[in-house]
Symmetry: C2
Subunit: 351 residues, 2 copies
Amino acid sequence: MKRPTIDDIARRAGVSKGAVSFALNGRPGVSSETRRRIQAIAAELGWQPNSLARALFDGRPDVLGLVVDRPARTLGLEPFFMQLISGIEATLSAASVGLLLQMTEDHEAEISIYRKWWAQHRVAGVFVVDLRVADARIAVLEELRLPAVVIGGPGGTGRLPAVWIDDGGALAAVIEHLAGLGHRRIARVAGPEELMHTGVRTAAMRATAARLGVESVTVYADYSGESGERATLDLLRGPDRPTAIVYDNDVMAVAGTAAAREAGISVPGELSVVAWDDSALCLLARPHLTAVSRDIAACGAHAARALLDLVQGREVADARQANPRMVGRGSTAPVREPVQLMVGNIETKRV
Amino acid sequence: MKRPTIDDIARRAGVSKGAVSFALNGRPGVSSETRRRIQAIAAELGWQPNSLARALFDGRPDVLGLVVDRPARTLGLEPFFMQLISGIEATLSAASVGLLLQMTEDHEAEISIYRKWWAQHRVAGVFVVDLRVADARIAVLEELRLPAVVIGGPGGTGRLPAVWIDDGGALAAVIEHLAGLGHRRIARVAGPEELMHTGVRTAAMRATAARLGVESVTVYADYSGESGERATLDLLRGPDRPTAIVYDNDVMAVAGTAAAREAGISVPGELSVVAWDDSALCLLARPHLTAVSRDIAACGAHAARALLDLVQGREVADARQANPRMVGRGSTAPVREPVQLMVGNIETKRV
DNA sequence: CGACATATATGAACCGGTAAATCCAAGGGG
DNA sequence: CCCCTTGGATTTACCGGTTCATATATGTCG
């Protein structure tokens, strides 16, 4: 099957190539009569612009790129990416812009992918995810002048526009909720320390805990179920056993909950659990997990719109997304009597 | 930053554009001395071919496409796609070929994406997943002569090469295993009936059950946790309660197991459970789920190699991937005494 | 009625590669 | 000494669009 070109249309319409281009792109230079005729022929032939020719001319393809740099092992269960991608995709496909996806397991490799994409004119811009503290990608993208939108932040994104969800506020709300239930020793099993939002949450946790006068401790894991399990058991066997644990993703929360119960610690009786990212996983676990729910797809959609704008040379401002909210379920409960009493006493004395 | 072109190199080397092209593509027509000089300059300038110009010339971009047509809701937890994509990606990125990803929630829409991709010269070929019975995509792709490799089958793929995993054999092995444990009433919570591999598994189940003289029943669900839960409860409350259930994916298996236990049915005491797709999810559940383990990433990698070959005009044969194997864990056990005795009696009488 | 603006269309250049055709000089054979 | 081959390079056309400079007609106005 041969794909029609504007030359075919021009011949059929008995006009020049240029006229066809004008007619199909809605720019002046052809009579409305001719325009209609040309459009009719184009429709009849099923003509579609050759994206390569177009992109070659204006030096920029209508494709945006996303590099995912996480071990495939932890990626599979992580609903985050699929949701993010589906949000991005919804916006891009409406704009007839493609999404180029590449996976890697190495920060340096990711940077060289950007360089390559840029040099080969493969993408007009990129989405940056999993922002790190002092992220090396930022400087490279600025140097290349490759349009980029960072999903994450705020801060640490240089001159690149950022789209983010207020993790700090959400974590504060979680701590407040737990403190309200009487918890006085709250632990958190966090994601990798080098990730920016891990730091944001840690800071928020520290501040909120201090404000409310509760103890807090953060241990770092890698988002995988095994790491969550290990971290949980360490916390539960340690000297000051927490009465509540907040997890930085739902995979670790589910694994941690199962591990705790196997160790004979009832959830939520002796331990309350809060998950981050409210995916179906939280409903697969028993009890159902209380979780922080964020609209990740909406965030992706917003980032996509921002990047489309940026590529077209428009100014783009940083944007905080709708606040996450906590969905209460069966994994959180008031602290049990003995502990509560003791704490109560202390509190009473203080008053 | 300006990206160097072969013209820049030609000027620097004091030769013509053509000479540079020959030198950099390793074709005859330049002396080895000149070739070295040109290559050195190209390396120094950090030249990379403009993929658009190249693709425009030979009418085919070095990009392959994948359309994922599943509701975003069930996609998130489905480790299948991430594993498949990561396998595909590993092969493609080694070959410097991009992967264009698009999501949709509509079979018809998927077909029009193919037409559009083809008409716009966006991809050189596509991967087809979730093969259906009498799949409408096959004819369209053949008509367009768009190179395509079907991940799924065998059969029903027309003239398109297929790469598949032997689901039928694996299901037979599972039934044999369960029958060996004494199970005589085995149910299966399957994926959507319109999917080809669902049918393959159903046929294998029926045949194996008949051969071994066990009862089998299949009910259809949609891969989501809720649907798995519902199907499980229906089976357990029905007249002939099965003593074992095989699930077509791990999400439904986990949900089903949890639902059964909540209904007071012990796993594996009163009910054995086998999951399909051995992801981390199976280890998050309690008890750990016995599962059919397939190397999905390897399958994706193979499909990618096949499609790369196909795009370059080489003949590609159908290929069955390494057989899946069953990983025994805590969710399967011999049938309990009362049932086993009863069945035993019947069997004895028959003999 | 001639000068001039306007509308409509054409032709050619360009984007950055690839490849076929052509050119040129050196070397070999008759 | 001339013809022919051959290696090494150049020229040129082409892929399929976009756009700019340039032609023609048409109409307007002084």
